[in-house]
């Protein structure tokens, strides 16, 4: 029993170490992505620039595909108002829409992808050729935008090959997103887990959640990193000390 506990502790430590390393790597890569952003923005609009897309579909009529901007610039509490896009698509009841987020980017040879799930950890991406198979549909989705950038949106027919409905749910082409990777959608006013992935078979990293609210806002909430939690703990400790010290003086 003691031996089992010891092995379990060792395994837990290994996992924690791996997770920390992965997070460190991701942080470095996110910084690299941010640095690369300035270069990428000078590219022509027709070329996919790695922006994240949130897509909505009622599986009939028109879909909405909305550009959230670069993953590297996300911050906790950031939100986007989808009201105009929903009106343009003629959505009567957004609470029943299927929606999700995807995107990918090659940053100096490191191939990233991002995807939402209903809570489960998404599939790993083993290598660059597999990353390529989900980059193809993502670029196809992007090809509908005449201009890419946060706040831009398109409203394709749900029957069109590059609509959200076809790419992520029902399309039959082997090159469409849900056939090359996973269906990233959740349903209605809820939260979706948002993961980042690297095409090296490493474990997906939970970056936070996106939520859709009844006032048509999509909001990102980041998962605090261990370092942030440590700082939070330290800050809390100092606050407690600061609260206690005057009371000592008053004695």
């Amino acid at each position: 029993m003691t031996r089992f506990n010891s092995e379990t502790k060792t395994l837990a430590l290994e996992i924690r170490k791996k997770k920390t390393n992965t997070m460190k790597n991701h942080s470095t890569r996110f910084l690299a992505a941010a640095a690369a952003l300035a270069v990428v923005t000078s590219a022509t609009a027709a070329t996919y620039n790695g922006d994240l897309f949130v897509g909505f579909t009622a599986q009939s009529g028109n879909d909405v595909i909305f550009d959230l901007g670069q993953a590297a610039t996300l911050y906790s509490g950031q939100n986007w108002d989808l009201s105009a896009a929903f009106t343009a698509a003629g959505f009567a009841s957004p609470g029943s829409l299927k929606w999700g987020i995807l995107g990918d980017k090659n940053v100096a040879g490191v191939h990233f992808a991002w995807s939402t799930t209903g809570g489960a950890t998404p599939l790993t991406i083993p290598n660059t050729p597999v990353w390529g198979t989900l980059d193809t549909p993502t670029r196809s989705i992007a090809s509908q935008f005449s201009l890419l950038g946060s706040g831009q949106y398109v409203t394709p027919l749900a029957s069109f090959d590059n609509s959200w409905n076809q790419q992520t749910i029902v399309g039959t082409l082997t090159t469409q997103y849900h056939n090359t990777y996973e269906n990233p959608n959740v349903v209605g006013f809820t939260s979706a887990s948002f993961y980042s992935l690297v095409a090296d078979d490493s474990a997906p990293t939970l970056q936070g959640t996106f939520s859709l609210s009844a006032n048509n806002l999509v909001t990102f909430t980041a998962v605090p990193e261990p370092g942030s939690l440590a700082f939070l703990g330290l800050g809390l400790g100092m606050a407690i000390l600061a609260f206690r010290r005057p009371s000592v003086r008053n004695v």
Binding site: T47, G109, P137, S143, D161, L173, T175
Partner: protein, 382 residues
């Protein structure tokens, strides 16, 4: 004196009237079908009353020119037909939406193989009256506004080739699955050769999104007409071109002309830098119309069988080989009477374009034993 002035004025006005009556019909679309349309327009009695006067630019032969002008009489009326072959998807878009194209100037004469200089082009761009398309509008990227008048005028044949990369050993065959991966930009050569150590990449160098040859390639392979490919372009030395000037070596790019594309496929790229996936050495596959493929093969390219079936007229006719398209001619909605006259002559199955299909680059409709409704649909035997 007054009489003389009146006569001069009368003569001038007659000249002006005569000039105004000279009809010009503008045509665009499929580069793969340009040699067949050339043969039709150039033949005495097919469209023009007698063999017309021809001017051409930008082609290794008169029938291969991207710019053509034909001048003659149709039913006794002086008529000019100007063609700028910009790709069949471009043709459908131009004719359906009224987008303007550039044509040769009236003063340009004779045949010159090089591209027209500025002075040889009409400074005014024109909307196209007629368009040739390698697939029906329903399977094009411009499905609306719907063109009310169109007709089938033949079968256009395509094929796949590869460049003479010495990295590629073994079978010269390609499958739809391999094509789909190569179109995405990340297909390892080992996927095609079966040799596990063939770690270099195979890219597609192809046409731009105004091309019907491309629509048919993307459709028949199952990649998807609207799916965005990662295609590269090579220069004459076989080096990858930085397509947007920011280190972008693959993307939704491609050549506007099959002839130009064919001219880049004769170089061994085994020692060239792979600027997209890194490393040294890569191979290239490409899709071309039959005549452009012949040009590429003449330069050193190697023809590929598709899914184990070689491209041949017999295999196309029987539906065994599936990379081909039904050729259409479209007339713009509310076209003028001169354009309608030319359309009717070209669309006539017995005496128009269909009659001039040579049995190699294009096949007559009546010779086919297989039918398909579009590039995403498998051919069925009649």
């Amino acid at each position: 004196m007054n009489l003389k002035k009146s006569l001069i004025a009368g003569a001038l006005s007659l000249g002006l009237v005569s000039f105004a009556d000279a009809a010009t019909v503008y045509m665009t679309g499929s580069t793969a079908m340009r040699s067949t349309v050339y043969a039709t327009l150039n033949a005495a009695g097919a469209v023009f009353d007698a063999a017309p006067t021809f001017a051409g630019r930008d082609g290794s032969s008169a029938g291969g020119c991207n710019y053509m002008t034909f001048v003659g009489n149709i039913g006794g009326v002086s008529t000019t037909v100007k063609c700028h072959w910009s790709g069949s998807e471009g043709g459908v878009k131009d004719v359906a939406t009224g987008q303007l194209e550039t044509f040769l100037a009236d003063s340009t004469s004779g045949y010159v193989s090089t591209a027209p200089v500025a002075a040889e082009l009409d400074p005014t761009a024109h909307a196209a009256d007629l368009g040739m398309a390698d697939n029906s509008q329903a399977f094009s990227r411009t499905t609306t506004p719907v063109l009310a008048t169109g007709a089938k005028v033949g079968i256009i044949t395509f094929t796949w080739v590869r460049n003479p990369s010495t990295l590629w050993t073994g079978s010269n065959n390609i499958t739809d699955q391999q094509i789909r991966q190569a179109l995405g930009g990340f297909a390892k050569l080992s996927l095609i050769t079966g040799v596990p150590t063939d770690n270099s990449y195979v890219y597609v160098s192809g046409r731009d999104n105004l091309s019907g040859t491309r629509v048919n390639a993307l459709g028949t392979s199952g990649f998807g007409i609207f799916t965005t490919p990662n295609q590269i372009e090579l220069n004459a030395s076989g080096d990858m071109i930085d397509l947007s000037g920011v280190g972008d070596y693959a993307g939704d790019y491609g050549f506007s002309s099959g002839g130009t594309l064919a001219g880049t496929l004769g170089v061994d790229t085994a020692t060239k830098a792979d600027n997209f996936n890194g490393g040294t050495g890569f191979s290239v596959i490409s899709y071309l119309g039959r005549s452009d493929a012949n040009k590429a093969i003449g330069l050193g390219a190697i023809e590929l069988t598709l899914n184990g079936v070689p491209q041949s007229v017999a295999n196309v006719k029987e539906g065994r080989y599936n990379y081909w398209g039904t050729e259409y001619i479209y007339q713009k909605n509310s076209a003028g009477s001169d354009a309608v006259t030319v359309y009717n002559k070209l669309a006539n199955t017995a005496t128009g374009i269909n009659n001039y299909c040579d049995g190699s680059n294009a096949i007559k409709l009546g010779d086919m034993h297989a039918t398909r409704t579009g590039p995403t649909v498998d051919p069925v035997h009649n």
